[in-house]
Amino acid sequence: MRRPPRLVARTLTVTFVTVAIILSVVFIVLMVDARDRVRAAEVEKLSVAEKVFTALDARRQQEQLATIATVAENPTLKAALDTYFTESAFTGLPAEQEQSLRDTVTVEAEKLAALTGADVLAILDANGRIFVSAGPLQDRWPRNARIEIPAGTATFQDITAMPQGAFRVAGSVLSLLDRDIGALVLGTSLDANYARELSNLASADVVITVSGAVAASTAPAAVAADLVRAGNNAGDTATLNGEEYAVRRLVGSGPARIYTLASIDAAARTATRDALMALATVAFGAFVLAALGSLWLAQTLAEPIDRLSGEIAMMTASRDLRRPLHLTGSSRELDSLAEAFNELVQGLTTAEADTRAAYLGAIRALAATLDARDPYTAGHSERVSALSVLIGRHMELTAAELDVLRLGALLHDIGKIGLSDAILRKPGPLTVEEYDQLKRHPGQGARILRQVPFLAPHIPIVELHHERPDGRGYPFGLRGDEIPVAARIVHVADAFDAITSARAYRPARGTAEAIAELQRCAGTEFDPVPVEALVAVLPLSTTTLEPALQELLGRQLV
């Protein structure tokens, strides 16, 4: 059968399961809630980013236009440009002159490009063709390429797609008092760098499309491609490449579109991870607390129980049921259990004492009945018992051993019950057959006592009280130390009483004679130690042995 679990296992299980259920509910609520909040947050973030971008961009463009308008008022630039085109139209320019004027314009353009920090800066002629370009990306604006100049405004800005890429352009017409001689245009390339800058500004991915094709993107290519496909249908959120994105259009003029987008799934993953980390920390703390609490609870419950069961185990081991259990004072239930146990033990003790008294009474009656069959042996068992106890006490046996000795001695001849009166009371020597029957009485007594578990300790005395140290005794012929001390004592006391008692075929002999006989046979028939003990205790009652014995027996066999 399976052993029941320990108390601590039960408390741990209960608290852990409770904590786990609470944490699970919190986890589910968090997961469901986190995504909604993340979606709202991402949409809001992009909305803010759009506002910031719009405001910053409007300001930046305003400032840029002001800068361009200022730098366009460059007399050298205008003079060289106007001289170049006027003279080349009038008479044509010699190479040297053309180069000189062009260099003048180029130098001015490069100065302005450095000053404005533009990706590319171009000086256009009156027809909108690039005359000179300068700046880091000047190669993308080759000479004679056209850039549309809107009519009627002094400054302009636009997004234009060139073969070499899309540009945000801002420009100012170069004019003399009453006529335009060209234009000065600054270009910002809508390339990966621009997307990256914008992306940093918006803290989100940026996709730039020109004429429906991705020009630059900080988002994965598949996402950008999906965005182009979704086009203007994309609302605040769109599913791109299988993930949900918050989308916002920053710029929608001309051929170019600039979108900013943020993955809701990725943000949700991050938020979920953060929440899980927090939850894991809480869970760890909760489990530690639960474990400590459970251990403490189990400890306070189990410790008094362990104490009680320890006491009971000690009681059982020492067979001492007289002392009651201590009340633990830990709980009312446990105290009433201890009290109930104490009452039970008390009842058991009383019952056992009664039983024991009843048994003793019965045994004494049995022994007395046996003795009564032969007038010569009347009181023999009682006397052997008393004498054995005297000897045993002198030999410093323990109280328990003396108890065993007393009863064992009382019953030592119980096996003679099965003998016929003819043998038992035969006045004269026994025949071999009769003697054989007589020698069976220790075994017979042991068989009788085996019927009563209560009498088991006394069996060796009954069975072995005719064994002799020299091995010539019966029924087994044991030698020396093989014979229990109690049996040896009873053997001596039995012999002493037999010698000092009258028999049908001889008179009683004196104590001194009996002792001499015993001492003579000590070491062969008798163990010398009980014999000496007997010699030591007898002087106390040499003259009044019989009354003294009676008194002794009367006191001890209550």
Partner: protein, 232 residues
Amino acid sequence: MQQPVVGNHRGRLTLLLAALVVAPGVYPAAQEPPAVVRGRVEIGIPVNVRRPTSAYPTRTVPAPKLAPESERRHVVVYLRDARPQPVMPMRVAVHQLNESFTPRVVAVTVGSEVEFPNDDPIYHNVFSLSRAKNFNLGRYPRGDTRRVRFDRPGVIKVFCEIHSHMSATVMVFDHPWFAVPAEDGTFELPAVPAGDRQITAWHERLGDTTLRLRVESGRSAAADFVLPVPEQ
């Protein structure tokens, strides 16, 4: 022989033409006496006028009002295939007034001096990057004047280093057959040698427009321009 009348410089040109008459062998192929070419210049399309772009828009100088008629004063009509002739120098003044050069277009003979008096209450500068005459007169205040002598024929663009929107054009000829039309667009080229001639009207924005016409001795020829000539 008719008296040529060219622009405001009638007196000087009289001397010049007198010299021409003295030396008739300049046109050996043209034995016949010269004739007057008269004509009229019309600006056929409106010229877009943009307000000056400036980082500092409002100034004390009012925005110029350019009537279409005055645009005709920005045209120079000249004989295209003329051979170089000895010519008399002229004196012309280009004023700097209201942040602009006035007149904006002048035509002079080789060797002429052009004066640039500053009539504005502010400093001005006059410079040119042109091949025919490359100069910089520096900055000077109101009332001051500087002059430049033009010794080579050609077109010279003149600018102000301080005010980038100011410009003027000086056309220098090595022959006497040129004119700037009057306000009504009429002009007159005197003593044009007879024969097949090309007359060109040049406008600073609209470029060249050239007419071919036969000049017959003793008779005046007409050359009317509508600028620009529609492309055919």
